[in-house]
């Protein structure tokens, strides 16, 4: 690839842009149209329950992009990205709780769980969350800020490899314990739920769901282009160089810690975005999102799809979750074994994931 080309040409060749436009058309136009336009009972009408499911997949795909950005391109395996996802989800959940108003079970301006705990006023942490714009920016700022602080210490201390992964795993576990406590002030183990509306629209209304789905897919496509830009820019190539020969990068005059920190923080913010889009579509956010296993699963999506490819990671997230939503119904006890077997099989036989398989077939 010639680094003197204009930006759009550096991102993708013409043929790849056609594929991208095709995917955008199907997901942004065709799917919502099929869900809304044909009359009820028509064979081409998309069942209404699929829309929030697809929206959820889009959120997971954004997470996969975020994980791939640092794992595939910087060689940093995070087993704690669930933290950033959950924090984004909680920020949006707090807005949704606040916009229930006095329509909760206890007819109080305070969220139900606070009334239940006999709290008399809103804790400081909840101030401002009645404003959508504030909550939306917090969904990015809080995960980003935590990642920045955590990464600053970790990368300055040159913690890498498996040690870094273990610390991220501990981070998500610690946060899970924290969020389980009622005193923390985010609804304890029940989390935040019973949402009624978002920006004034009734949250269970089919048209609201289509709207959320469209926003999620648009966010996914935007996140993809952002990540693609980052990895083809000189910045991204410095990052990949750090993965291959960190000392050479330093002796070229780059500060590897600053580069890792930048990508790490962007990655966390993308997860926050995904979490914020996820909560209104799923209707609940609770500490189970912080389980260490959830974060491990995120890494599996990327491994299965093919790391260092971005589109492979996103497809991996959709494919694994599609399989999950089907298999957890068909064989509820077997799902974790199947996921583990899939991970082992991919690692052993297709170390580059599905995307690598496609590339291998072409050549």
């Amino acid at each position: 690839m010639d680094p003197t080309l204009p930006v759009w040409a550096r991102l993708h060749a013409r043929r790849e842009w056609v594929v991208f436009a095709g995917v955008a058309f199907v997901t942004l136009v065709l799917v919502p149209a099929l869900a809304a336009l044909p009359s009820e009972g028509s064979p081409i009408r998309l069942p209404g329950h699929l829309i929030p499911l697809f929206g959820k997949f889009a959120c997971y795909a954004i997470v996969a992009l975020a994980v791939d950005l640092i794992w595939g391109y910087a060689g940093i395996l995070s087993l704690g990205h669930g933290v950033f996802f959950a924090l984004g989800g909680y920020a949006m959940g707090m807005y949704l709780m606040r916009s229930i108003g006095a329509e909760g079970v206890y007819r109080s301006e305070l969220p139900d769980f606070m009334v239940f705990l006999d709290w008399k006023e809103l804790p400081i942490t909840w101030w401002g969350f009645q404003h959508f714009a504030y909550a939306a920016s917090m969904a990015l700022v809080i995960p980003g800020g935590l990642a920045l602080a955590f990464g600053w210490f970790a990368f300055r201390s040159r913690i890498r490899g498996v040690y870094f992964s273990i610390i991220t795993q501990a981070l998500t576990y610690a946060l899970m314990l924290l969020f389980f406590r009622n005193d923390t002030g985010f609804g304890g183990n029940n989390g935040l739920t019973d949402f009624k509306r978002i920006l004034g629209f009734p949250i269970h209304d089919p048209s609201t769901r289509i709207g959320l789905y469209v926003v999620s897919v648009a966010a996914l496509l935007g996140a993809y282009l952002l990540c693609r830009y980052l990895v083809v820019s000189r910045l991204g190539r410095v990052l990949a160089a750090i993965r291959d020969a960190e000392s050479r990068v330093m002796f070229c005059g780059y500060d590897p810690a600053a580069y890792k920190l930048f990508f790490w923080t962007v990655s966390a913010m993308l997860c926050g975005l995904a979490g914020a889009l996820y909560t209104p579509q799923v209707g609940i956010i609770n500490p189970s999102e912080l389980q260490p296993a959830n974060s491990v699963e995120m890494a599996i999506w990327v491994a299965v799809g093919g790391r260092g490819t971005l589109f492979g990671a996103a497809l991996g997230a959709v494919a694994v979750n599609w399989a999950k939503s089907w298999l957890t119904v068909a064989f509820p006890d077997l799902w974790l074994y199947l996921l583990g077997a899939l991970f082992i099989a991919v690692t052993l036989f297709f170390p580059e994931g599905f995307a690598g398989l496609a590339r291998w077939k072409r050549s």
Binding site: S233, A245, S247, R248, F251, C252, G253, D255
Partner: protein
């Protein structure tokens, strides 16, 4: 040494207090190493070592294994911190308080013993990333290669004989080609001081001859330090040779004098 102005303040200013092309060499000396001591678990890798490099000279550093050659390189480039002693780049830049990246920006380039290139990138991209310029995150995010820079890379590709491998992934190069690519990466970085660790290891005779020519042509405009085991190669390029032994300087002088120095013969050739 009143010539050494201690710039504690400049060190505290951080990354971009150091810029390329501001090395003060008015005394004619580009590198001062004084009383340098480095120990690892009680083993003295460098023992009260002092060394001065004149601006523009080509110096060969030889010595048996464990003499401290690589440790000295590590200290100069910020990889290892000394237990005692001073290392100044020009009159004003204290290298013992700077990070590896800061030292590279100040104008010291290093070629490793084992060729270290970015194996996932093309030969061209390797040079692009090494190119002298702003190495901060913000500027690399929006960096575009200018026509001038592109020409510079192409000229360097011709110099290192890799013009035909421009788009090849660096991981696919032969050992000797990787060595050359790494030297090319040093060249586009435009350092004033080049530290070159075993440049001809794994090279054929012809490649080694070309490397010798290249290093000789670089001296003058740059200061070049070559660490090498291959005595034939050292004889080919050496003006002045420094012999290290057990972390100290054993002898220093022109190649002929060194070759006939009985102390050098004893430790180096085991005679």
């Amino acid at each position: 040494m009143e010539a050494l102005v201690t710039p504690e303040a400049s060190a505290a200013r951080g990354m971009h207090a150091v810029e390329t092309g501001v090395v003060d060499t008015r005394q004619g000396v580009i590198l001062y190493v004084e009383g340098l001591t480095v120990s690892f678990d009680g083993f003295r890798a460098l023992d009260d070592l002092s060394l001065y490099l004149d601006d523009g000279e080509l110096r060969c550093l030889i010595g048996p294994n464990g003499a401290g050659k690589t440790t000295l390189m590590d200290v100069i480039t910020g990889k290892t911190r000394p237990d005692a002693g001073k290392v100044f780049f020009g009159n004003t830049i204290d290298l013992t308080v700077l990070s590896e990246a800061q030292i590279a920006i100040a104008g010291i380039g290093r070629k490793f013993q084992r060729p270290t290139v970015f194996v996932g990138h093309s030969v061209f991209e390797n040079l692009e990333l090494a190119l002298r310029g702003d190495k901060r995150v913000r500027s690399t995010l929006f960096a575009r290669l200018s026509g001038e820079e592109k020409d510079r890379i192409d000229a360097t590709l011709a110099t290192i004989g890799l013009a035909g491998e421009r788009e090849l992934r660096a991981g696919l190069l032969s050992h000797g080609q990787k060595q050359w690519l790494e030297i090319g990466m040093l060249l586009v970085q435009e350092p004033q001081l080049l530290l070159v660790d075993e440049p001809v290891a794994g090279m054929t005779h012809r490649e080694s001859d070309r490397t010798a020519e290249l290093l000789i042509s670089l001296a003058g405009e740059h200061t070049v330090v070559v660490v090498e085991h291959d005595m034939e190669f050292v004889r080919k390029i050496a003006r002045k040779v420094t012999v290290l032994h057990e972390g100290r300087i054993l002898a220093e002088g022109p190649m002929d004098a060194i070759q006939n120095d009985p102390r050098v013969l004893e430790v180096y050739l085991g005679a």
